[in-house]
Assembly symmetry: C2
Homo-oligomer: 325 residues x 2
C-alpha cells in the first residue's frame, strides 16, 4: 500500500478545494441557475474558504444553441463578471472546456483580460493529444490549466501509463483522476492516485480527484486519494451533480482540518438554496439505479433515463443492464 | 499502514455477511414488521447467500412492556419459528441482547432447543465485565457469541486496549467494531480494525464491523476494515437502520466477489418491500442533521429529534449542536 501524507489531524496546506456545483450540477438543470443563486453560492464559497469556484462550461456556440441552455454552459466573460465583478476575493475562478466541444481558439481572452483563473480541460483518454493542444494554447494565454481525464475506470493500464507520461510532460498544472462512473473503490482509487502522483511529482505537477457517488463512495474516495497525496479536491453543495451526484462539499469541509475552511456558510446556503432547488424537482443523488451502473462500471445514461421515466422496477432494470452488457 | 488481506478480485472465504435489517431497522419502526415482510426477507437472504440473519433483540420483558413494541424486540422462540420453522437453510440466525437490558439467565433456551445460532451481546466499553458474564453463560448454553462494543469512537486508547485484552480471552467467537455515531473515517476505522485483529488473532477470535452512514462512509468503512482482515460484515436492506442507517447490503453484495452471494433476490425484496416501507413514512438514511452529529462524534439523538420534528433549519440546528457541546 502507498504511504499516507499526514494523518487525520494534519493540516495539508497543499490542498485546494474546488466547488463544482454550477458546472456538474448544471448537468441536472440545464445550467438554469438564477443569478441570485449563483451570487449567493459565490459569497458562501468565499466565506467557506473554498479555493476555486467553477462557473460552468465554455461550450462551443457553433455546436450548441445559446437559447437551448442556461448561460453557465457558455460562461461568457460578461456573465461571470456580472456575478463577481473583478473578483477581488482570494477565491479563484475556473471553467471547464470539453475536448471537441469547445472553440478554444476563439472563446478565451488572454488571461490579463479575463476574471477566469483556471481552465479545466476534460477529455477521454484517447483524446490526450487534443487535450495537450488545448492546454498549451490556454497556458500560452496565461491560464492555470488542468487535464481531467474522464471515465478512467474503463481505461487499461497501458493507456493510463501512456496518457500520464504525455500529459505530465505538457504545460498542465494539475492532472485530475475522474471517476465518471462512480465505480472505483477507495482501494483502486488509491492505487490509481499513487500512479498519477508518480508521474505528476516527477514533472512538478499536482493531482486532483473528482468523484461520483454511485456507490456512496465519492467522499470516501476523495479523502482516500487525498491521504495519499492528491491535493485538488472537487465537491459540490449537497453533492449536486449528474446522476448520483458528487462528493458533498459539506462532508469534505467537515473533514478538512485547515482552519481556513468553514462549513457554516455552506449549511446556510444549502438550507436557503439547495433544499428548495431539490424540492422544486431537480433530481440528483445516490439511488439504486445509479448504484447498479456504478457496480457494473458503465455510463449512467440508462440510469438517468430510468430516473427521468420515474420508473420503480429496479429488479427489471438490473436485468436489462445485464442483457445489454 | 496495515497490510491488506487479498485484493479487489479475491474471494475471501472467511467473510460472513450478517443481515441486520430487522434488528437495526426495527429501531426505526418500533420493530413492527409484518410476518409477510420478515418471511420475504428470510427467503431473499437465503437466496442471496447471506450467512446470518438477525431477527431482533432479546429485550427484558421486566423492563419493556410487550404491548409497547413489535415482537422482534423480544424474539421469542415461537415467533422466530413461525417464520423459519426448523430453519433447514444454510443461513444461521442471530439475535442481539443489550447488557443491562435483557434477562439472559431466563430468556435463552439451551442451544439444542433453539433455532437461534448466535447471540450478539451489545455493550458500552465500561460494561465489558458484564458482557463477559453474559457471553460465558450463552457460550455455556451452546451458542456462538459476539461482543459488539458500541460507540467506540468515544473510547480512549487505554480503554480499548484493556477491553480487547479482556474480551479476547473470554469464550467469545467474534469481537465487533461498532461505529455507532458514524464518525469514523476509513483511515481510523482501519487503524482500529488492525488493533482488534491483533488481539483477536492472538486468541483465535474473529473481528466484525458494523457501520453507520452519518458521513456516507458505512460501506467505505466496511470494505476498508474487511480488506485489513475483518471478516464479519453487517449490512441492511436499503441501509435501513437508526438515524442515518447502516451499510447498504446491496452495496456490500455488489462488492463481494464470492459467487455464493447474489444481489438480485435482494433487489426484488427492496422493490417489493423496502421502497413501500420507506414511502409509508418510516424514516432513515443519510441526511445533513446526521452528518453533523457524525462529524461532531456524538450520539444521533438530537438529529433523530430534529427529524421527528420535521425541522428544516439545518444551520440553526448546527449552532445548537455547537452550543450543547
Amino acid at each position: 500500500m502507498p504511504d499516507r501524507k499526514g494523518n487525520l489531524m494534519s493540516v495539508r496546506k497543499d490542498v485546494k478545494v474546488l466547488d463544482a456545483t454550477i458546472r456538474d450540477g448544471g448537468l441536472c438543470n440545464n445550467f438554469e441557475f438564477t443569478d441570485e443563486f449563483v451570487t449567493a453560492l459565490y459569497k458562501a464559497n468565499i466565506k467557506c474558504g473554498i479555493d476555486y469556484m467553477e462557473f460552468g462550461y465554455k461550450a462551443s456556440k457553433n455546436m450548441f444553441k445559446k437559447s437551448d441552455f442556461g448561460k453557465w454552459k457558455f460562461c461568457d466573460e460578461e456573465d461571470i463578471r456580472s456575478i463577481v465583478g473583478e473578483n477581488i476575493s482570494d477565491m479563484k475562478i475556473s471553467v471547464m472546456a470539453d475536448v471537441g466541444r469547445c472553440d478554444f481558439k476563439e472563446d478565451f481572452l488572454p488571461k490579463s483580460e479575463s476574471v477566469i483563473d483556471m481552465v479545466r480541460v476534460a477529455c477521454y483518454i484517447h483524446q490526450i493529444p487534443a487535450a495537450i493542444e488545448m492546454i498549451e494554447h490556454l497556458h500560452g494565454l496565461g491560464y492555470e490549466t488542468c487535464c481531467n481525464i474522464m471515465a478512467i475506470s474503463q481505461a487499461n493500464l497501458n493507456q493510463i501509463n501512456e496518457a500520464l507520461d504525455m500529459i505530465s510532460k505538457s504545460s498542465v498544472d494539475v492532472i485530475y483522476l475522474v471517476d465518471s462512473y462512480g465505480s472505483l473503490f477507495p482501494e483502486n482509487a488509491g492505487d490509481l492516485a499513487a500512479k498519477y502522483l508518480e508521474f505528476a511529482e516527477a514533472n512538478g505537477k499536482k493531482v486532483g480527484f473528482h468523484g461520483h457517488n454511485n456507490q456512496n463512495l465519492a467522499f470516501a474516495n476523495t479523502i482516500e486519494t487525498m491521504s495519499l497525496g492528491v491535493s485538488y479536491l472537487d465537491g459540490t453543495a449537497l453533492a449536486m451533480g449528474r446522476g448520483a451526484g458528487n462528493c458533498a462539499m459539506e462532508l469534505l469541509l467537515g473533514f478538512l482540518k485547515n482552519p481556513k475552511y468553514s462549513i457554516f456558510p455552506l449549511l446556510e446556503f444549502i438550507e436557503k438554496y439547495m433544499i428548495p432547488l431539490k424540492n422544486s424537482g431537480v433530481t440528483w443523488g445516490y439511488d439504486l439505479q445509479y448504484m447498479m451502473t456504478g457496480q457494473l462500471n458503465r455510463h449512467p445514461r440508462e440510469a438517468m433515463q430510468f430516473t427521468a421515466d420515474k420508473r420503480g422496477d429496479y429488479s427489471e432494470f438490473y436485468k436489462q443492464l445485464l442483457e445489454n452488457f
